[in-house]
C-alpha cells in the first residue's frame, strides 16, 4: 500500500516539477524517487497486509512483481531523457504518465477486490493509449493510438462484463470470498462464463493468439519508447495479473480450461514465431516475438499453484532483455522515420558495444545459456513436463528453434552488412540503460536462485 501511495505521490510531483520550472532535474529526481520506492518495497517484502476492506492485499507475490515493475519503469524513465529531447515542453507529462502507469500496474498485482483490479487495468491502459498516440504529428502514431484505444476499450468492456457475471454468480467482488464460494457450493453457470470473459480480456492485453491482431500495428506505429513500455512492462503486468486472477479465483483449473491454455499457448508461440520470420521492421518483429513469449508465459498457468516463481523469473528475464534491445533500437533509430532492418547494417563495426548488447539481448530471448532467458525456459519446461504436458514442451522446443531464425537475422545484419550511415553521439543514459539491463539479465542467469527463492 505504501508503495502505491508513494508512486502516485511521485507522479504528482513530476507534474509539479514542470510548474516550478525544474525540468532539467526531472529525470534524475524521478529515478531517485523510484529507487527510493524500490527500497521501500524491498524493506516491506514479506509483510502480509490488507487495506481498505481487502481492496489492496500486499503479499510476497505483489511485492516481488511490484519490485520488477519499478525496476522496469526506472529504465523506461531513464530512456525518456534522450527520447523526448525534441519535446522538452511535454517531458514532465510523459514521465508523469509513465509513473501513473506504474501505479496502475502495482494495483493490478496487489488487488484484493475485482473493482480494484479493473481500476488498475484502466489506469494502465489509458496511460498506454495516450503514450501510443503521443507523437502528435505522426500519422502512424495516431493510427496506433486509435487502434489500441478501440481494441483496448473493447477488451476492457469484455473484462467488465465478465466481472459483472462473476458478481451476479457470487454476490461479491472480494476475491477471497469468491474463491471460498467457488470451492464450496454448486456454481451457477455464469461464474465460469465470467471467468472465461475476464480471461479473454486479459489474453487480449498480453497479445496472445487469437487476440493478437492489434499488437504488430500498434507496436510499429507507436513511438519506440512506448513500444518498449508495451512490450516489456505492460505485457509482464498483464501476464502476472492473469496468473494471480486465475490462481485466486479458482485454485484448481479444470482439465477443459487447461486444454484451452495449451492450445492458446501453442498457437501463440507458433503464430508469433512464424510471422516474425517474415518481418523486416524490427519493432514489428519484436511484437511478434513478444506474442510468442506470451505463449511461453502462458505455460505457467498449467501448474498454477507452484509456478509463481518461474513466472516472475521468466518475466524478469524477458523484460530485461527487451529493455536492452529497445534501448539499442532507440539509439539506432533516433532521427529515422522507420525501424527497418537496414538501419542496423554495420552496427557491429560502427558501434561494437551496442551491437554486442543487442546480440546478448536477442540470445537471451532465443534461450542461449548463461543469459537468463535460457533458465527461464528451462524452468518452464521442467514444470510443464512434471505437469504432464510433454507435447506442449516439444512444441515450445520447436518454436525455440524457429525463433533463432529471426533473432539471428538481426544479428547477421549488424555484423555482416556494411554500414550505410554515420552514427554519432554517445547518449550516456541510453548506454547506461542498455549495459545495466543486460548485466542484470546475465546476473539472473548466473544466480537464478536470487529470484526463484523470492516466491518460495
Amino acid at each position: 500500500m505504501n508503495t502505491l501511495i508513494a508512486i502516485i505521490g511521485l507522479g504528482v510531483l513530476c507534474l509539479l516539477f514542470e510548474i516550478l520550472n525544474w525540468r532539467k532535474a526531472l529525470v534524475p529526481a524521478t529515478i531517485l524517487g523510484l529507487l527510493a520506492i524500490l527500497g521501500l518495497t524491498a524493506s516491506e517484502f514479506g509483510l502480509e497486509a490488507s487495506y481498505y476492506h481487502n481492496m489492496i492485499v500486499v503479499n510476497k507475490f505483489a511485492s516481488a512483481f511490484s519490485g520488477l515493475f519499478i525496476i522496469l519503469t526506472i529504465f523506461l524513465v531513464a530512456l525518456s531523457h534522450n527520447f523526448y529531447q525534441n519535446h522538452q515542453t511535454k517531458l514532465s507529462d510523459f514521465i508523469a504518465i509513465k509513473i501513473f502507469l506504474l501505479s496502475g500496474a502495482v494495483a493490478m498485482v496487489s488487488f484484493g477486490n475485482l473493482a480494484m483490479f479493473f481500476l488498475g487495468i484502466e489506469v494502465l491502459s489509458i496511460a498506454l493509449y495516450i503514450l501510443a498516440a503521443s507523437s502528435r504529428l505522426s500519422l502512424k502514431s495516431n493510427e496506433a493510438g486509435m487502434k489500441y484505444f478501440l481494441m483496448g476499450s473493447f477488451a476492457s468492456g469484455i473484462i467488465l462484463f465478465g466481472i459483472c457475471l462473476i458478481y451476479g454468480a457470487m454476490g461479491s467482488f472480494d476475491v477471497i470470498e469468491i474463491s471460498e464460494l467457488s470451492s464450496s457450493a454448486e456454481l451457477p453457470v455464469w461464474f465460469p462464463i465470467g471467468i472465461i470473459l475476464v480471461t479473454i480480456g486479459m489474453l487480449f492485453k498480453i497479445a496472445a493468439v487469437p487476440f493478437h491482431f492489434w499488437a504488430p500495428d500498434v507496436y510499429e506505429g507507436a513511438p519506440s519508447l512506448t513500444t518498449a513500455t508495451m512490450s516489456t512492462l505492460a505485457k509482464v503486468v498483464a501476464m502476472a495479473t492473469l496468473y494471480k486472477l486465475l490462481t485466486v479465483l479458482n485454485a484448481d483449473i479444470s482439465p477443459a480450461f487447461q486444454m484451452i491454455v495449451v492450445v492458446v499457448s501453442i498457437a501463440s508461440m507458433t503464430v508469433g514465431n512464424i510471422m516474425a520470420l517474415r518481418q523486416s521492421n524490427v519493432k514489428r518483429m519484436l511484437a511478434f516475438s513478444g506474442i510468442s513469449h506470451a505463449g511461453f508465459m502462458l505455460m505457467t498457468l498449467l501448474s498454477a499453484s507452484i509456478a509463481a516463481a518461474s513466472l516472475l523469473y521468466y518475466a524478469a528475464a524477458y523484460a530485461l532483455a527487451g529493455i536492452a534491445a529497445f534501448s539499442v533500437i532507440i539509439y539506432v533509430c533516433r532521427n529515422r522515420d522507420n525501424e527497418d532492418l537496414t538501419n542496423f547494417h554495420g552496427l557491429g563495426k560502427t558501434n561494437p558495444l551496442l551491437a554486442a548488447i543487442l546480440t546478448g539481448a536477442l540470445l537471451s530471448m532465443a534461450g542461449i545459456p548463461i543469459f537468463s532467458g535460457f533458465f527461464a525456459k528451462l524452468i518452464l519446461f521442467n514444470q510443464a513436463i512434471q505437469a504432464g504436458h510433454l507435447i506442449l514442451v516439444i512444441a515450445a522446443v520447436v518454436n525455440s528453434i524457429i525463433s533463432v531464425g529471426y533473432y539471428f537475422k538481426l544479428i547477421l545484419a549488424m555484423y555482416t552488412k556494411e554500414a550505410n550511415q554515420e552514427r554519432s553521439g554517445t547518449p550516456v543514459l541510453i548506454y547506461a540503460v542498455a549495459v545495466i539491463s543486460l548485466l542484470l539479465n546475465i546476473a539472473l542467469g548466473l544466480y537464478p536462485s536470487l529470484v526463484l527463492d523470492l516466491l518460495g
Binding site: 542461449i368 524452468i379 513436463i385 522446443v397 528453434i401 539471428f408 555482416t416 536462485s449
Partner: protein, 478 residues
C-alpha cells in the same frame, strides 16, 4: 588447486586478450594458451598423485543444480587435447593478418574455455551450458573472419548454428525429463537411474540428435563441408580438431552409460551409420576439387569410424575411439594448417591450381607427407594405434564391419596420396613458393612430434584413460 583455476585462466585470458588491443592480442593469447597447457599438465600430475582436483558446490537450489566439475582420466585426456591444440591454433594464426585481431583471439580462448568446461562438467545442466556456450564463439569466428562470398558463408554458418542448436534443445528436453526422474542432474545420480527400455529409447534418441549433428554422422552431416570450407582456418581447426570431439566424448560420457539398453538394441543401426559415414565420406572426398573440402570429407570418414568404435560398447572400441579422437585432432589441425600455408602463398584452395611445390620447399613437403601418411594410419603413427583398435573391436561385433570400415584405409590412402601428388609433386610451379616461416615450421614440427611420439609409445594415454573407460563400461553393462 582444482580444475576451476583452468577455467578461470582461460576466461581471464579471453578478457585480457580483448583488452590488450589489436597489436598485442595474438601474443597475449598465445601466452595464456601456453599457460593453460602448463596448468593442465600440472593438474594431470596432481591427479596422478591421487589428489582431488574436483569441485562440487550447490549452484541453484530450485531446481537442484550443482556446479560440479569432475576430472577423470578421460576428461583429462580431452582437456590436454584442448589445451595443447589451443596454443598451436593460436600460433598458426600468427601468419594471418586478421582484422580486429583482439576479438578473434579472445573468441578462440573463450571457445577453449567453453570446451574445457564441457569436458569437465559432471552436472547435466552445467554441461549443457558449456556445450551451448561453445557454439557462440565459433559462430562469430566463422561468420566474420571466414572467406568466400559473404552471402553464401552466411547461409552455411546459420545453417550450422540452427542445426546444432536444434539438436541440443532435444538433449535439453532429455535432461529435463531425467531431472524429473532423478531429482538432480549430477552424473552420479543419473548413472544410478533405472530407466525402462522405452524411456531409454527416447532419451537415447534425444541425445543422439544432439551428438549426431555435432560429430557429424550421416545423415546429419550436411552442414559440415560448407562450414569447414568457409570458416577461416583457425575456425576450421577449432571445429574439426576439438569441437567435434565434444560430440564423441559426450557419447561415451553421457549417452551410453545413461541409456545402455537402447545402445545395445540399436547397435547395428548405429554401427551402420558410422560405417556409412566412412564409405560416403571417402567416396565424396575422392571427387573434391577444393583442398579444404577434401579434408572436410576425409574428416567425416574418420569420425564415422570413431563413432562406430564408441558404439561397439567394448573396451577396445572405446579405448581406440579415444586414442583416435586425440590423434585425429592433431592430424586434422596439421592438415588444415598445411592447406593454409599453401593458401598464404598461392591464394587458392583449388587443387588443380597447385602442384610443383616439392622442389621449392623440401622441408614443408616432408612434413606434409608425414601428416598425409599419419592421416591414412600408417603404422608407427598415432592414428594407426587408434584405428587398429577400433577395427579390431568392430571385428568382435561382426566381421563384416571391419571389412567395410577398412575401406577408410584403402580409400583414404587413395584420395590422400592423389591429393598430395596433385598439390605437391609435378613440374616445378612457375609461382614462387616462399619457404615456411619459423612459426609455421614450429607448428608443423610440434604436431609431427606428437604423432610420432604417441604412435611409438601410446602407453601414457592408454594408462590414463583405461581406468575411467573401465568404470564407464561397467556402468554400461550393469
Amino acid at each position: 588447486m582444482d580444475v576451476t583455476y583452468l577455467l578461470i585462466l582461460l576466461f581471464a585470458g579471453a578478457l585480457a586478450t580483448y583488452f590488450s588491443g589489436d597489436k598485442l592480442a595474438s601474443k597475449v593469447a598465445l601466452l595464456f594458451g601456453v599457460a593453460s597447457f602448463g596448468l593442465s599438465v600440472y593438474l594431470l600430475r596432481l591427479f596422478q598423485d591421487g589428489e582431488s582436483i574436483d569441485v562440487i558446490t550447490s549452484w541453484i537450489t530450485r531446481p537442484n543444480i550443482y556446479f560440479a566439475l569432475k576430472a577423470d582420466g578421460l576428461s583429462l585426456a580431452m582437456l590436454l587435447l584442448t589445451t595443447a591444440l589451443t596454443p598451436i591454433i593460436i600460433l598458426s594464426g600468427l601468419g594471418n593478418d586478421f582484422k580486429n585481431a583482439k576479438a578473434i583471439y579472445a573468441l578462440i580462448l573463450f571457445m577453449s574455455f567453453a570446451m574445457v568446461g564441457t569436458f569437465l562438467a559432471s552436472d547435466g545442466l552445467l554441461y549443457y551450458i558449456f556445450w551451448e556456450l561453445s557454439l557462440i564463439p565459433i559462430y562469430f569466428i566463422a561468420l566474420l573472419w571466414g572467406n568466400g562470398d559473404a552471402e553464401e558463408r552466411k547461409k552455411a554458418v546459420v545453417k550450422f548454428f540452427i542445426y546444432t542448436f536444434a539438436g541440443s534443445l532435444f538433449m535439453l528436453v532429455a535432461f529435463v525429463y531425467l531431472y524429473g526422474q532423478a531429482g538432480s542432474l549430477l552424473l552420479t545420480d543419473l548413472y544410478r537411474l533405472q530407466l525402462s527400455d522405452k524411456e531409454q529409447c527416447w532419451i537415447f534418441g534425444a541425445f543422439f540428435l544432439a551428438y549426431a549433428i555435432k560429430i557429424p554422422l550421416i545423415p546429419f552431416h550436411t552442414w559440415q563441408a560448407k562450414v569447414y570450407q568457409k570458416a577461416p582456418t583457425v575456425g576450421t581447426m577449432l571445429l574439426s580438431g576439438i569441437m567435434l570431439k565434444m560430440g564423441l566424448y559426450s557419447v561415451i560420457r553421457w549417452q551410453l552409460p545413461i541409456a545402455p539398453h537402447a545402445a545395445k538394441q540399436y547397435m547395428p543401426v548405429l554401427l551402420g551409420l558410422g560405417i556409412a559415414g566412412v564409405i560416403y565420406g571417402s567416396i565424396v572426398a575422392l571427387r573434391q576439387k577444393d583442398l579444404k573440402k577434401l579434408l572436410a570429407y576425409s574428416s567425416l570418414a574418420h569420425v564415422g569410424l570413431i563413432a562406430a568404435g564408441c558404439y561397439t560398447l567394448t573396451m577396445d572400441g572405446l579405448r581406440g575411439a579415444v586414442l583416435q579422437m586425440i590423434a585425429h585432432g592433431f592430424v586434422v589441425v596439421g592438415l588444415f594448417f598445411a592447406a593454409e600455408i599453401i593458401f598464404r602463398r598461392y591464394e587458392t584452395r583449388t587443387i588443380a591450381d597447385m602442384g610443383g611445390i616439392r622442389s621449392q620447399t623440401p622441408k614443408f613437403t616432408s612434413m606434409f607427407m608425414i601428416l598425409v601418411l599419419a592421416s591414412v594410419a600408417l603404422p608407427s603413427t598415432f592414428n594407426f594405434v587408434g584405428e587398429f583398435m577400433v577395427l579390431f573391436s568392430l571385428a568382435h561385433v561382426n566381421v563384416v564391419w571391419p571389412i567395410l570400415g577398412g575401406t577408410t584405409i584403402i580409400l583414404g590412402a587413395y584420395y590422400m596420396l592423389r591429393m598430395f601428388q596433385h598439390v605437391m609433386l609435378g613440374d616445378t610451379n612457375a609461382k614462387v613458393f616462399k619457404d615456411v616461416s619459423f612459426n609455421e615450421g614450429l607448428v608443423m614440427v610440434l604436431i609431427v612430434a606428437v604423432l610420432f611420439f604417441f604412435g611409438l609409445y601410446p602407453k601414457p594415454i592408454t594408462d590414463l584413460v583405461t581406468p575411467s573407460l573401465e568404470a564407464i563400461l561397467a556402468q554400461i553393462n550393469r
